[in-house]
């Protein structure tokens, strides 16, 4: 998995790619926590290039959402079909705000 963090219009954009599984999901969790702990509470997680996400990955994004909700939000951009499938299966498609593009996700804040 690769993680790239940048800023767009005062929104923190985290782009993840590759495989997110039990071996590396904590890296995504740490990246999200690092931003939240640093006072960045408007976050977009772009999942377009994630081609494998197990329940370990979902655990991390749910934990991050719980953590940031008090002061901001974690929104998802263009999840790949395989990520979308597990999001729906876990009922997370109704808990996260999900956008079909980065621009729309960033602009939603």
């Amino acid at each position: 998995m690769n993680i790239n963090v940048s800023e767009r219009d005062h929104v923190t954009l985290i782009e993840a790619s590759g495989r997110i599984d039990s071996m590396n999901a904590h890296q995504l969790g740490e990246a999200l926590s690092h931003e939240i702990d640093g006072g960045h509470s408007q976050i977009v997680l772009d999942l377009a290039n994630v081609d494998f996400m197990s329940s370990a990955g979902l655990r991390e994004i749910v934990a991050a959402l719980k953590k940031v909700r008090a002061s901001g939000d974690l929104r998802l951009a263009r999840p790949s079909p395989r990520v979308q499938e597990v999001l729906e299966m876990a009922g997370l498609d109704t808990i996260f705000q999900i956008f079909p593009s980065q621009v729309e996700a960033v602009g939603s804040y």
């Binding site: 197990s54 329940s55 749910v62 719980k66 597990v86 997370l92 808990i95």
Partner: protein
């Protein structure tokens, strides 16, 4: 009819090896891309559960055996371990409608296995846990 067998050390770093092994066997069996992916994800979840809960993350000297069998109408993955007897199918199914605040972190792995595979069975035989995952061939 064909059969292949892989033994991995029960540590997280070996789980992708098990997934790749199963993916190759699933492709040979004739599953489509989605079917192959579902088998990989199910094996990832099953092996992760064994490593985290069965072996309590102390599996350096333990193994997980993965056996892939292709029959006329089905692709069968058997996952065997030597942890304490544990039937994951007896665990309660998490509710996808649970609000964020009330969500616990666990339980989704076995839910995904059930959803992605056509049949899932558990046996305890010869002091080993055996989880059998079945995907029907078209």
């Amino acid at each position: 009819m064909s059969e292949s067998h892989l033994r991995i050390v029960a540590v997280p770093a070996q789980v992708p090896i098990a997934c790749d092994f199963v993916a190759a066997a699933a492709v040979t069996a004739g599953l489509d891309d989605n079917g192959v992916y579902h088998c990989q994800l199910a094996v990832d979840e099953a092996c992760t559960n064994i490593i985290e809960h069965g072996y309590q993350m102390r599996g350096e000297n333990q193994v997980i055996d993965i056996i892939c069998q292709t029959e006329i109408r089905q692709f069968i993955i058997s996952i065997l371990d030597d942890g304490p007897a544990f039937n994951p199918l007896r665990q309660s199914t998490p509710d996808p409608t649970t609000p964020l605040e009330q969500r616990s972190s666990g339980g989704w792995g076995i839910h995904f296995i059930r959803q992605f595979m056509d049949d899932v069975q558990y046996f305890h035989h010869n002091q080993r846990n055996c989880l059998v995952l079945v995907k029907r061939l078209q």
